[in-house]
């Protein structure tokens, strides 16, 4: 018999408004009522009946959740419990064995390119080209995400200003992680999917990240963070998903 892992879900007291998570896409019908138009613009991440199997092993199944603006979901679990798999599924990088994930009512795998720009995923790999400088990496990222903008401010916050013209191969692990965070900020995404973002960060770096997450949520953004230190990010009304 395949090994199954129990899944515990505890919804916070403030329940998310489920209207934002219709399964059918709301059409661009000009005769839509005001309420339907609101549905399309409501940023919301919904997971329905999600299951993931690795070979014969079930990582999780029957996972349901709704996440609305200003909401945070924390993924906790031991190593190998499927946190990375779930985050990748939410980002659209992998397919769940069962179930579906929708962003603004559209399945994540079928988002149009511009809609994809609202989701930022930061995994274990930093996506820095080692032969390019930090500045070159950041401006590339900003150009591809369509948001060319000055990033000196972001670098200053992360204490990377002095390293802007250093090739990424000479950065320490913590500095690379900070550069990755800079890219996160530059993408100006609505939904942040972060996989153990505090790895290699010192206390100062973790402080900046926590501050950013709080600011992001205040501005109506959403975040799903896989972490071994949920207390760093715990906010009122956060969803806890234990895998």
């Amino acid at each position: 018999m395949p090994l199954k892992m129990r899944l515990d879900l505890c919804y916070s007291k403030t329940k998310v408004n489920p209207i934002g998570c219709k399964n059918d896409r709301v059409g661009h019908n000009p005769r839509s009522t005001g309420a339907s138009l609101l549905l399309m613009t409501e940023p919301a991440l919904c997971g329905r009946e999600l299951a993931a199997w690795r070979g014969d092993r079930c990582l999780f199944e029957r996972l349901h959740f709704d996440l609305g603006p200003g909401q945070l979901a924390l993924l906790v679990g031991s190593n190998g419990s499927g946190k990375t798999t779930l985050l990748r599924i939410l980002a659209g990088l992998g397919l769940p064995t069962e179930g579906a994930v929708t962003w603004r009512g559209v399945a994540v795998g079928e988002l149009a390119p511009d809609e994809r720009g609202e989701i930022a995923y930061r995994g274990h790999l930093e996506a820095l080209k080692r032969d390019l400088t930090v500045a070159e990496n950041l401006s590339f990222h900003a150009a591809v995400w369509g948001r060319s903008q000055p990033f000196e401010g972001v670098l200053a916050e992360l204490k990377l200003s002095g390293l802007a013209h250093m090739r990424a191969r000479y950065l320490s692990a913590g500095q690379r992680r900070r550069a990755a965070l800079a890219m996160l900020k530059l993408s100006r995404a609505k939904l942040w999917l972060l996989d153990e973002p505090t790895t290699n960060l010192d206390r100062e770096g973790r402080g900046v990240l926590a501050e950013w997450v709080r600011g992001h949520l205040r501005d109506g953004g959403l975040a799903v963070i896989a972490t071994h230190q949920p207390d760093e990010f715990a906010a009122r009304g956060a969803l806890m998903i234990e895998l």
Partner: protein
Amino acid sequence: MNAFNAVLLRDLRVAFRRWSELAHPLIFFVIVVTLFPLALSPTAAQLREVGIGVLWVATLLSSLLALDGLFRSDADDGSLEQLLLAPVPMTMTVLAKVVAHATVTLLPLLCLVPLSALSFNIPLAALPTLALALVLAAPTLSVLVALGAALTVSLRRGGSIVGLLVLPLTGPLLIFGTRATDLSVNGEPTAAPLLLLSALAVLAVSLGPFAIAAAVKVGLE
């Protein structure tokens, strides 16, 4: 700067930061081209007959060499998945990468081939056609090579398989390319194979990026 240019410039920049690696396919080409006369000990006339085929085969083989820069290094540092997630159609990203790769790998090769042709006693008059045929074959070749790289991007030791996948598909390129050069050496009109090469190029460039993008997406799952 739009996304296509951004990807193109980035890839070119990364390639030129490691410019010593750009020379590898060229050196390989020269070695292969040297080995053939060594093995065959041909006469001057035989050299010309054999030369065209040798040059084309050596070009095909050399183009397989610098594949890492296409997708594997991006996959290894996480850039490729970011490109997949970016608000840019993956087919456009793929096209930009293929163009960058062709510029960096094939362009120098294309310059080298006519020079080597002289060493095989191929008449000077035939060189323009040879160059043209190579230029027309280059897009198809780049697309096929990129497809091989994309299909094997998630394999740890994908390098050895890529040749097996890509080379049979390059058969038509070889046929038309060598034929065009042959005809030109004999002074006959070369329109037919050149047009066929162009047709293949159009087909490859229009349909290839979709297959390559799909392969990358599946490979990164």
